[in-house]
C-alpha cells in the first residue's frame, strides 16, 4: 500500500520542523511557526491517507529497523516498526489535527503577544508532536516506551517554557518527576514482558498478548512466568505497565503534576491535555488491550482507579478560581472516565471518549487561551464576566465545548461518556459487581462535571464585567478564531459517529466507530476479539439493559449540575457560593491536601529511608572497602622504608642477594657435598 510506505513521514515531518526551528528558527519569519504548521499539515494529510487506506480493510505491521539483533537461541531482538490498524489510524488523525490547530493558535497566543524565545517554543511543539505520533505508530512496547519518555521530556521543556519566572520551572520539574515515578514501573514492566515472552510486539505472529492468551490455555512454548501461575504473573506485569499509564494519564494518586502544568503556555496545555502526553497513557492501555483483557484483576483495578479519579478530580474542579485550573481538573476527571471504560470492558467506549475528549478539551483550552489573551493574561474567573457580547466567536465555540464536556445531548461528550458509563453498568450488573462501584462514582461525577463546567462558563462569559479589563478586552485575530471554529464544529458533531442509544431507539445503523474498531486485517487487535477475551478470561458478561435508559439518567444528572450552576452563577453579579461549603471548600480548594501529603511522604518517609541507606552505603559498604585498602596503606608505609635513596645500600643488597643466590645454587647443586 502506497500510503503505508509514506507513513514514517508522519512522524518525521514534525521532527524535521523541530530540527529546523532549533537550528534556524531565529532567521525564519514568525520564529519557525510556518515550518511547524507545514509539517503538521503534512502529517495530517498523510494521516488522512493512511486512514482511508486502513478503512479499505488494510493494515500494516512491519519492522523497519533492527537496532539490536539478538544472537543465538533465547535472545531478544530490539526493533523499531510501524503498526497501523484502525486504532492507530484514528489516533494519528486526532493528534495531527490538534497539533496543527495548536500551531496555528500559537501564532495568535505567542507571536502576536510578542513573546521571546519562539524558536525554542516551536522546536518544542515539533518534537512533542513527533514523539506522540511515534508513540501512536509504535509496533512494540519498548519503542512505545521510548517515545513515551520523549513525550515526557517535551512536556518538561514546554511547561517550563517561561523559565525566568518562578512557577513554570518548578511545575516542569514536578511534571517530569511525578510521571517519571510512574514510568519507572513501566520500564520494569517492559523488561518483564521481554523476560516473559521474549518479544514485545503488539500484533502479528508471536505478539505478546497472543502468547499470553496461549499461555493461559497451557499451549505456549517459551513463555516463562517465573514460578507464578500465568494469571497472577500477567496481572503483575499488567499492573507494572499500568504504573506508567497512571503517571502519564494523571490518574490518582499521580495526578498532582497536571494542575501545576497549567504554568505552561496555554496552547501547550491544549496539546498536552487533548492529544498528546495525557492521552498517551490511555492509548497505551487500548493498544495492548488484548493483554489486559486476560486479567480481571487488572481490569478491576483500572476501572476503580478511573472511576475514583473521575469523581475525585471533579469535586476539586468545583471550587477553583482560575479558568485553566478548572479545565485541568476536568481533564483528570475525563481521563478517569476513559480508564473506567477500559477497565469495564468498554474498549470502544473508552476509545470513543478519547476521540471526543481530544476535540472538546483542545477546544476548551484554546478557548481559555483566547480569554486569557483578551484578559491580558489574567486567569482569575472572578475578574471576568460579561465576555459573551465582546467575544462572540470565542463564546459560542467555548459553549459548544462546555456542552460536550458536561455531556449534554447532542454534543460529542454525551455520546461517549454515556457509553462508558453504560458499559460499566451492564458489565457490573452482568456479574462483576466491582464495576458498579466505578459506575456509581462516575455517575456522581457527571453531576459535578455539569456544575463546574457551567460555573466556569457563567463566571467567564455571563453577568456583568467584574474588572476594567473585562469591560474592554483585548481583541483576537483569525489565527485564534480559526482553530476555535474548527474544533467547535467538531465538538458538536464528532459524537455522531457512534450514537448507540439513537440506534436502539430508531433502528437506524449509527455505530460507525464500533464498526471501525470491530474488524480489521489484524484480527487480534479488533474489538470483536477483545470482546471474546473479556468474556472467556475476565468473565465479563453483559446484562440486558437499554442504553438510552442509562443515558437518560446521566443526562438528567448533567442537566441538574448545569441547572444548579445556572441558578447560582448566571446572574449579573454572582457571589462565591462555594464559600458556603465551609470546610469542604477548603479541602477541595487545597486539592485534598494531596500535594502536602506527597511532600510529607517524601520528606518524612522517603528522606529518612534514603538517609539510612546512605549511612549503610557510607558506613558498611564503603567501610569494608576502606578497611581493606587501609591494610595496604599501612603495609606500604612501613615497607617503603627499605628505599633509603642511598646508592650504597642498594649495592650492598644486590651483592648480598647475589651471594645468597650463589649459596643456594651451590647447596642445591651439591658443590659443598
Amino acid at each position: 500500500m502506497a500510503a503505508f510506505d509514506y507513513a514514517p513521514a508522519i512522524v518525521l515531518l514534525p521532527f524535521i520542523s523541530f530540527l529546523v526551528s532549533l537550528a534556524g528558527g531565529k532567521y525564519l519569519p514568525k520564529g519557525g511557526a510556518f515550518g511547524g504548521i507545514a509539517a503538521t499539515a503534512g502529517s495530517l494529510l498523510l494521516s488522512a491517507w493512511v486512514f482511508l487506506t486502513v478503512s479499505a480493510g488494510n493494515a500494516y505491521n512491519e519492522t523497519l529497523y533492527t537496532w539490536a539483533a539478538g544472537v543465538g537461541e533465547g535472545t531478544t531482538t530490539l526493533t523499531f516498526g510501524l503498526l497501523l490498524d484502525p486504532l492507530a489510524a484514528m489516533m494519528l488523525l486526532i493528534v495531527s489535527l490538534v497539533a496543527l490547530l495548536v500551531h496555528v493558535f500559537s501564532l495568535g497566543y505567542m507571536n502576536d503577544e510578542g513573546e521571546t524565545g519562539l524558536p525554542r517554543y516551536y522546536a518544542g511543539l515539533g518534537l512533542f508532536t513527533a514523539s506522540m505520533l511515534g508513540f501512536v505508530v509504535a509496533d512494540n512496547l519498548l519503542m512505545a516506551f521510548m517515545f513515551f519518555e520523549l513525550v515526557g521530556l517535551c512536556s518538561y521543556l514546554l511547561i517550563g517554557f517561561w523559565f525566568r519566572q518562578e512557577g513554570p520551572p518548578s511545575a516542569a520539574k514536578k511534571a517530569f518527576l511525578v510521571t517519571r515515578f510512574g514510568d519507572y514501573f513501566f520500564l520494569v514492566g517492559v523488561v518483564a514482558v521481554f523476560a516473559t515472552f521474549g518479544t514485545a510486539k503488539f500484533a502479528g505472529e508471536g505478539a505478546f498478548p497472543v502468547l499470553a492468551e496461549e499461555a493461559l490455555n497451557g499451549a505456549a512454548e517459551g513463555v516463562s512466568t517465573f514460578g507464578f501461575a500465568p494469571e497472577t504473573w500477567f496481572t503483575i506485569v499488567g499492573l507494572l505497565i499500568l504504573g506508567g499509564v497512571v503517571g502519564k494519564s494523571a490518574q490518582f494518586p499521580l495526578h498532582t503534576w497536571l494542575p501545576d502544568a497549567m504554568e505552561g503556555p496555554t496552547p501547550v496545555s491544549a496539546l498536552i491535555h487533548a492529544a498528546t502526553m495525557v492521552a498517551a497513557g490511555v492509548y497505551l492501555v487500548a493498544r495492548m488491550y488484548g493483554f489486559y483483557a486476560l486479567s480481571p484483576t487488572a481490569l478491576g483495578i483500572i476501572a476503580l482507579i478511573g472511576g475514583f479519579t473521575a469523581l475525585f478530580a471533579a469535586t476539586m474542579g468545583v471550587v477553583k478560581r482560575e479558568i485553566k485550573q478548572v479545565l485541568a481538573y476536568s481533564t483528570i476527571s475525563q481521563y478517569g472516565y476513559m480508564m473506567l471504560g477500559l477497565g469495564a470492558g468498554g474498549y470502544v467506549a473508552a476509545t470513543f471518549h478519547l476521540l471526543t475528549h481530544a476535540f472538546f478539551k483542545a477546544l476548551l483550552f484554546l478557548g481559555a487561551g483566547a480569554v486569557i489573551i483578551a484578559m491580558h493574561h489574567d486567569e482569575d474567573m472572578w475578574n471576568m464576566g460579561g465576555l459573551k457580547d465582546r467575544m462572540p466567536v470565542t463564546y459560542y465555540t467555548f459553549l459548544s465545548g462546555s456542552l460536550a464536556l458536561a455531556g449534554i445531548v447532542p454534543f460529542a461528550g454525551f455520546w461517549s461518556k454515556d457509553e462508558v458509563l453504560y458499559e460499566a453498568l451492564v458489565h457490573g450488573l452482568g456479574g462483576s459487581p466491582l464495576l458498579l462501584a466505578g459506575y456509581a462514582m462516575g455517575l456522581v461525577a457527571v453531576f459535578f462535571t455539569g456544575f463546574y463546567t457551567f460555573r466556569m462558563v457563567f463566571l467567564t462569559f455571563h453577568g456583568e464585567p467584574r474588572s476594567d479589563v473585562a469591560r474592554d478586552p483585548h481583541g483576537v485575530r483569525w489565527n485564534v478564531k480559526g482553530p476555535l471554529v474548527v474544533l467547535g464544529i467538531l465538538a458538536a458533531t464528532v459524537g455522531f459517529v457512534n450514537m448507540v442509544p439513537v440506534q436502539e431507539l430508531t433502528g437506524i445503523h449509527l455505530e460507525y466507530l464500533h464498526d471501525w474498531l470491530a474488524h480489521g486485517e489484524l484480527s487480534a487487535l479488533t474489538s470483536e476479539h477483545y470482546g471474546e477475551l473479556l468474556h472467556d478470561y475476565a468473565g465479563y458478561t453483559s446484562a440486558e439493559l437499554a442504553s438510552y435508559v442509562a443515558g437518560a439518567v446521566s443526562l438528567a444528572l448533567a442537566l441538574a449540575g448545569a441547572g444548579a450552576a445556572h441558578v447560582l452563577y448566571n446572574v449579573p453579579d454572582p457571589d462565591e457560593h462555594t464559600e458556603k461549603l465551609g470546610a469542604i471548600k477548603t479541602v477541595w480548594y487545597n486539592n485534598y491536601y494531596q500535594d502536602e501529603y506527597q511532600v510529607w511522604l517524601a520528606q518524612s518517609v522517603v528522606l529518612p529511608i534514603a538517609r539510612l541507606a546512605d549511612k549503610f552505603d557510607q558506613g558498611v559498604v564503603d567501610g569494608v572497602v576502606n578497611g581493606v585498602s587501609s591494610v595496604s596503606l599501612f603495609a606500604g608505609s612501613r615497607i617503603r622504608r627499605v628505599q633509603t635513596g642511598v646508592v650504597t645500600n642498594y649495592a650492598a643488597l644486590l651483592t648480598l642477594g647475589l651471594t645468597a643466590l650463589l649459596v643456594v645454587f651451590g647447596l642445591m647443586g651439591g658443590w659443598f657435598a
Binding site: 635513596g645 642511598v646 646508592v647 650504597t648 649495592a651
Partner: protein, 100 residues
C-alpha cells in the same frame, strides 16, 4: 705458561676490591673508579679464557667492554657534575630527596 686459575684469582681479587670500594665509599668519583675495577676484572677473565681456549672471541669482546667503559665514564662524569651542581658536593648519600 701461567695456569688459568691464577688469572681467575686475580680477577676475583680485583672485582672484590671494586665492590669493596662501592660498598664503603661515599665519594661519587671513587664509585666511578671502583666500577672501572669491576669491569676490568671481567676483562681479565675474558682474556684469560680466550688465551686458554686459543680463541680470539674473548679478546675481541674485551675491546668492546673497554669502549663501553669509556662511554660509561662519560655518562657517569655527567651525572657527577649535576650532582655537584645541585649539592655542592659529590657525596652520593646526599642525593636522596626522591625517596618515598
Amino acid at each position: 705458561m701461567v695456569p688459568v686459575q691464577w688469572y681467575l684469582l686475580l680477577a676475583a681479587a680485583v672485582f672484590c676490591i671494586g665492590l669493596f670500594g662501592i660498598l664503603t665509599r661515599q665519594n661519587a668519583l671513587l664509585f666511578l673508579m671502583s666500577v672501572e675495577l669491576m669491569l676490568n676484572a671481567a676483562n681479565i677473565n675474558l682474556v684469560a679464557f680466550s688465551a686458554y681456549w686459543g680463541n680470539v672471541t674473548g679478546q675481541t669482546f674485551s675491546l668492546f667492554t673497554m669502549a663501553l667503559a669509556a662511554a660509561e665514564v662519560a655518562v657517569g662524569i655527567g651525572i657527577i657534575l649535576v650532582l655537584y651542581r645541585n649539592f655542592n658536593d659529590v657525596d652520593v648519600t646526599l642525593a636522596k630527596e626522591m625517596r618515598w
